[in-house]
């Protein structure tokens, strides 16, 4: 930022305070009503709510498939379905969970709702593009469902060639569906980056940006740069299957390992598309419920960017036994270890934030504690897998399955649930049953560990993944794991139950039930259609818990504008006191 420029353009403005309404008559849900208003809305909050409903739906579809897979594994041979059905089920479980749930869950659902509120903006930078990205997602999902009903796919979510280019079924259609969903992801990324750059409210400098926004910023960079590679790769598979152009299939002169390079060039960074927004939620929730300034703000913010950057350089760690050069394996292993460092820094910073805090274990924080343990285990087993010699043994075994479920479910889903519980009052205007929320969190935590801890043991004992039949020595572990998955499923059902129930019978929420200092809590609950009645002026940071609550009521600038210009360089005056917003 050009400081000389900014000081010459800075101006003094008078600031008034106003208090948000707890239950305003008019809010984003009733200012426009009717189905058509929802379907054509450009309001980021409604789009966020629609995304949240859609990803929840696909989470349950994917979850049911997981339960069917686990049930089939109750016995070493066939339990109740054929091998081919089983193969289709685990493929769809993976593909649905990754492309239709994990990737859009935090950014497109919670991010859409919360990001503009945290920036003091009326909407995202390109509201219509935002709606388009929702419809692309739906279109892709329908194409994928069509593929499932019309032939099915049994390639695994990784679509490895030449299996995927030679097997029967609707691989081409499925791949086309994922291709479309990819564009939804790219558009969301473009929208968020522009919004963060251009629509911050006056006074909201980069060092006052919430860590959730920072994490979405890092995520968006990956979405924009990595997703096109997936799109191209999937297009190449389509060309190979339809036109018979030999790119990956050696029978036609192609190179099957090339596919793995292309695929993981997207899909490894994609892992961070899934988890980095979760990190943002963790920072918000920990700071709010310990009423403490986040420890190491810049370390957390920049480590997200560092993870985003390094994540592009580690794809080869999925290929240590693929036959790639030993030198390549060495370099990829080294870089993979480097990702561990910024991730570790985050964990330490979050722990340090609790030091001398005022910790109130409400359900969002309880989910974060669940995240903390599960993600720690997921991360450390990632270190095990990054070590080449250990990966040679553990690659494609249940150890890997357990590892990524600890990161993706234990980390990302727990963070998502924490976020949903944290922002639920703001989104719906209702409070859920706190006791049930805590019990459900406990059930999920226990169920998760019962499901996936035995898989680490099976994996290091040598049990390969994607096995329909297995040798008898693994049966006890599989059975414990299956029982755990039922407990886990019960926990998720319970969450669904009390959250939906709260919509009808929940207590009305106040504007700021958690006493948070973050900007989205300083407006009405539920928020007005255009978020802010006046352009807010940002004087304090979102984690300034050492300052009294009164200072956080929104500043209102006297000068008017459309709220869409970058005005973050101006100096503001608060209650007659001059404060430098920089």
């Amino acid at each position: 930022m050009d400081t000389a420029e900014s000081s010459s353009t800075s101006k003094k403005i008078q600031v008034q305070r106003f208090k948000p309404d707890d239950n305003p008559d008019k809010h984003y849900l009733n200012e426009e009503t009717g189905l058509w208003a929802w379907l054509t809305t450009v309001d980021h909050k409604k789009i966020g709510v629609m995304f949240l409903s859609a990803v929840t739906f696909f989470f349950f579809i994917g979850g049911i498939m997981a339960l069917l897979v686990r049930t089939e594994l109750w016995t070493p041979a066939k339990t109740f379905i054929e091998a081919n059905t089983y193969n289709q089920l685990f493929t769809l479980h993976g593909a649905i969970m990754v492309f239709l749930f994990l990737v859009p869950a935090v950014p497109a659902a919670l991010g859409n709702f919360i990001l503009p509120l945290q920036l003091g903006a009326k909407d995202v930078a390109f509201p219509k593009l935002n709606l388009l990205s929702f419809y692309l997602y739906l279109t892709g999902a329908f194409v994928a469902i069509f593929a499932i009903l019309n032939g099915g796919i049994d390639t695994g979510w990784t679509f490895y060639t030449p299996y995927s280019s030679t097997t029967g079924g609707a691989v081409t259609t499925m791949v086309f569906g994922v291709f479309i969903i990819g564009f939804s992801s790219i558009l969301t990324g473009v929208n968020f980056i522009t919004t963060i750059h251009k629509l911050r409210a006056p006074g909201l400098t980069w060092d006052k940006l919430s860590l959730f926004s920072w994490s979405l910023y890092a995520t968006s960079i990956i979405q924009i740069l990595a997703t096109p590679v997936l799109a191209i790769t999937l297009a190449l598979i389509g060309m190979e299957r339809i036109l018979g152009i030999g790119i990956f299939d050696p029978a036609m002169g192609g190179d099957p390992v090339l596919f793995q390079h292309f695929f993981w060039f997207y899909s490894h960074p994609a892992v961070y598309i899934m988890i980095v927004p979760g990190f943002g939620v963790v920072s918000e929730v920990i700071s709010t419920f310990s009423r403490k300034h986040i420890f190491g703000y810049w370390a957390i913010a920049l480590s997200s960017l560092a993870i985003a950057f390094i994540s592009f350089l580690v794809w080869g760690h999925h290929m240590f036994v693929s036959g790639q050069a030993s030198l390549a394996s060495m370099v990829f292993s080294f870089l993979t270890f480097l990702v561990g460092i910024p991730t570790g820094i985050k964990m330490f910073n979050w722990t340090a934030t609790l030091y001398k805090g005022s910790i109130d274990i409400k359900s969002p924080l309880l989910y974060i504690f669940g995240f903390f343990f599960l993600f720690l285990v997921g991360g450390l087993t990632g270190i095990v897998l990054a070590s080449i010699a250990l990966d040679v043994h553990l690659h494609d075994t249940y150890y890997v399955v357990a590892h990524f479920h600890f990161v993706m479910v234990g980390g990302m889903v727990m963070a998502l649930l924490a976020g949903v519980h944290y922002w639920w009052p703001k989104i719906t205007g209702r409070m859920y049953n706190e006791v049930m929320a805590k019990i459900a969190c406990g059930i999920i935590f226990v169920g998760f560990n019962v499901t996936f801890l035995p898989q680490f043991v099976m994996g290091s004992q040598g049990m390969p993944r994607r096995y329909f039949n297995y040798i008898e020595q693994f049966q006890p572990f599989h059975q414990v794991s299956t029982i755990g998955s039922y407990i886990l499923g019960l926990g998720f059902l319970m969450v669904f139950y009390y959250l939906v129930k709260s919509l009808f019978t929940g207590k009305k929420a106040t504007a700021n039930p958690w006493g948070s200092r973050a900007l989205e809590w300083q407006i009405n609950t539920r928020p007005p259609l255009h978020n802010f009645h006046h352009i807010p002026v940002i004087i304090n940071g979102p984690y300034d818990y050492h300052k009294p609550m009164e200072e956080f009521q929104l500043g209102l600038a006297e000068s008017t504008g459309d709220g869409h210009g970058q005005q973050s360089d101006i100096k503001v005056t608060s209650d007659g006191k001059e404060i430098n917003a920089e």
Binding site: A83, N84, N87, D154, Y160, P162, Y163, P250, A251, P256, V257, R291, H293, G296, Y297, V321, S322, S326, S333, F334, F337, G340, G344, I345, F348, N349, T351, A352, Y355, G357, S358, I359, D360, I361, F369, F373, L376, L380, I383, V384, A386, S387, I388, A389, L390, V392, H393, H395, D396, S460, G462, P464, R465, R466, N469, Y470, I471, D544, Y545, H546
Partner: protein, 316 residues
């Protein structure tokens, strides 16, 4: 300690397995200490700093450079150790000793085939000498497979259109299971095999007996040999012999029956049809079954095909 070792890892039956296991315990041990440490601190903070009243004010602690450098540098050093160590063991797994005994491995849906220097062949069972480095030169006929022996802590993808290598040295005679660990279709989880480690002279005997490969053992009738071949060549992974539904049509009652194909034509199953089905499986596709079978042209000789046909005839 031994109980934990046996609980978590399969027996170590190659010279490299021990090196892998030492690193395995080092990383898991230090991870466990870190986990317990961090969770203990977390629990302590949660208890010590629990909210006691609603108007508590917390101090402003933005960062602490010394602390942050410490908790960045110490993990960095640790992961660099794990990296270097892991790479060193990996290089030991990669560099094949000069005197290694070579076996050629061919993978296809869903069998492992092994070819030895004197023309001997085996399917499903890899015979190797004890206490001598063995090098596998591997290739696939169809999709990617992966050769995994948990007891040796070794795994290598087997890719169509190129050769990949791995080597091991099993000091003691014994058996170890082989898994396919790259998903390859309906029979993926049945694509198992076994490494059989013989004493050196026992191995020489086995090799001599099977030189040339593919001739009928003297003590077996043709249909008995056919049954054995059907097992070894994993025909029975897809074709049941008791009428149950699998990837391919069952063999029970097949001979002499009327077979209907995808294009609606029919044929009465005889020797010629069975022979064609083995050598050119995609010439006629049986109605209701996927065209996934590979040709056995050049793999099964005429005597073997005859024996398998004799065996199918017995399955009434």
């Amino acid at each position: 300690m031994n109980a934990i070792r046996d609980f978590l890892l399969p027996p170590a039956k190659s010279t490299l397995a021990e090196q892998h296991d030492t690193l395995f315990w080092f990383v898991h041990g230090s991870s466990l200490i870190l986990t317990i440490g961090l969770i203990a601190v977390l629990i302590y903070f949660i208890y010590k700093y629990r909210r006691k009243s609603e108007d508590e004010v917390t101090p402003l602690i933005t960062h602490n450079s010394a602390l942050e450098v410490t908790w960045s540098v110490i993990p960095l050093i640790l992961v660099l150790i794990v990296f270097g160590w892991g790479y060193q063991v990996f290089m030991n797994q990669q560099i094949v000793p000069d005197d290694a005994y070579e076996v050629k491995v061919t993978a296809q849906k869903w069998i492992w085939q092994f070819q030895y220097e004197n023309g001997a062949q085996s399917t499903g069972k890899l015979h190797v000498p004890a206490d001598r480095p063995v090098k596998l030169i591997m290739s696939s006929k169809d999709v990617i497979h992966s050769f995994f022996v948990p007891d040796y802590r070794l795994k290598q993808d087997v890719v169509p259109g190129r050769y990949t290598e791995m080597w091991f040295n099993a000091p003691e005679p014994g058996e170890s299971i082989i898994f396919c660990t790259e998903y390859c279709g309906d029979g993926h989880s049945d694509m198992l095999g076994e490494v059989i480690v013989h004493e050196q002279d026992e191995f020489e005997n086995w090799l001599a007996e099977n030189a040339g490969g593919g001739s009928q053992p003297e003590d077996l009738a043709p249909e008995e040999w056919g049954e054995q071949l059907a097992q070894e060549w994993a025909c029975t992974t897809c074709h049941s012999t008791d009428g149950s539904q699998m990837t391919g049509p069952t063999w029970q009652g097949k001979f002499g029956s009327e077979q209907t194909f995808e294009d609606g034509s029919t044929v009465t199953v005889d020797e010629n049809y069975l022979r064609e089905s083995i050598l050119e499986p995609n010439a006629k596709i049986v109605e209701g079954y996927p065209a996934v079978m590979n040709t056995y042209q050049g793999q099964l000789n005429d005597d073997q095909i005859n024996a398998i046909i004799e065996y199918i005839k017995t399955l009434k």
